[in-house]
Subunit: 135 residues, 4 copies
């Protein structure tokens, strides 16, 4: 459904390479169009709690076809989606999750990254996403 294993592994590899360049230790997850895990790696000594977060970020990005941070902007106190994190068994709505599109603009999956600051997480996710979208 959507992304192939070959594409998912290419995204993981590009994201991993980015981590090595940045000197960060991450959990990196890729889900398919059905929001099901397709490929995953956890770097040595990466935060243990980030394992679950990386997978939830990837799922959240596919659940709503937008960057996780965009949802977080709407789910703050007083925001229109306040509390949406309680749905779907637990969402993560801060940056680090991005949908992945094919050449026609259709969402074929998503990538989620966790293990450092949200800025770093986002940068690594973007590197993974671009490995597929810009092929």
């Amino acid at each position: 459904m959507g992304i192939t294993l070959q594409q998912a592994q290419a995204a993981i590899q590009a994201a991993h390479q980015k981590c090595l360049e940045m000197g960060v230790k991450m959990n990196i997850a890729v889900v398919d169009a059905g929001a099901n895990l397709t490929a995953f790696i956890r770097m040595d000594d990466a935060w243990l709690g980030s394992l679950d977060i990386s997978i939830r970020k990837a799922k959240t990005a596919r659940y709503f076809d937008m960057p996780t941070g965009a949802i977080g902007g709407l789910s703050q106190p007083g925001g229109s989606l306040f509390g949406i994190e309680h749905s779907n068994g637990g969402l993560i709505t801060f940056p680090g999750g991005l949908p992945i599109k094919d050449a026609d603009g259709h969402v074929i999956g998503a990538i989620g990254v966790s293990g450092s600051t949200v800025e770093d997480d986002h940068a690594v996710a973007e590197a993974g996403m671009k490995a597929i979208e810009h092929q």
Copy 2:
């Protein structure tokens, strides 16, 4: 308990029709007086994450016999019901869920809609609710 399948399907159909007029893709759920799912549809290409949210909205509206958005007004930081979303396996307290009453004003079920802005979600839920209440 309360709403019949025939009524639930009438509500779903009216809500679906409203979606087509508005050009939105929604998940639409109807629960009975026991807050149990009675009828459900997911429109093609509707957000995957909205499936769970639509059902939670319908349940939340029946759990407290009020629009989900009214609960959300009380569950903000500092509000009297802050954190109520943690109960009942996870509530959704932003707009899009409405109780459905019979001619005598008794709540017989509820409808929950998710897939667009909360304003759109509410408008579709209202269309479904009115198909039963105003018969």
Copy 3:
């Protein structure tokens, strides 16, 4: 992903019609290729506990692309898949769930039925499945 809402509703309607002919009260669920709920109805006075079972049967049939009863044949004590029901948040492996294929033989979703004997459940699921496969 896979089955359309229109197809899912056709399957539900055919299965519902079969229930009326047989004089049984059922919960009927259809999931798409991603095992996500696409359409659902619960007939008036159908067993409340069958709501969850019907959805799990549909998901189980899609998870392994085979009738639920076929899995149950392998998950008995001493069987090769003993205890598989503990996976995926809980499977149901007795009859009443069937995959639905398109004209090319690809699985596009599944139907799950619960509310009577497993023989009745299977007969109703088959009626729903055939409404799509034999179009």
Copy 4:
């Protein structure tokens, strides 16, 4: 903890290669000494329900430092561990999960495979395990 990402990826790659030789489509999971997911792949069109099972097999093998099938031999009706599958959020106790040891015989992680018969699942898990143990 225990297995490194590099080792886990070597195990995944060897197991994947074995799948291609056997013509089977598998979900393959590797966990570390803490039973936390370290690497994972799902082959295109592998059973959706096997995603969860492969991860549970890997965890189960590490939880008790023995092949999953060995536990299943003890968890049958009348057996000394009857019902152990109810622990730890759900175990899978049929073949396809194997602990992975270092040169000193210490368990450093485990591999879990699901997607075909339990014999095939076991053969693929063994290929992955040997890529590390016999280095």
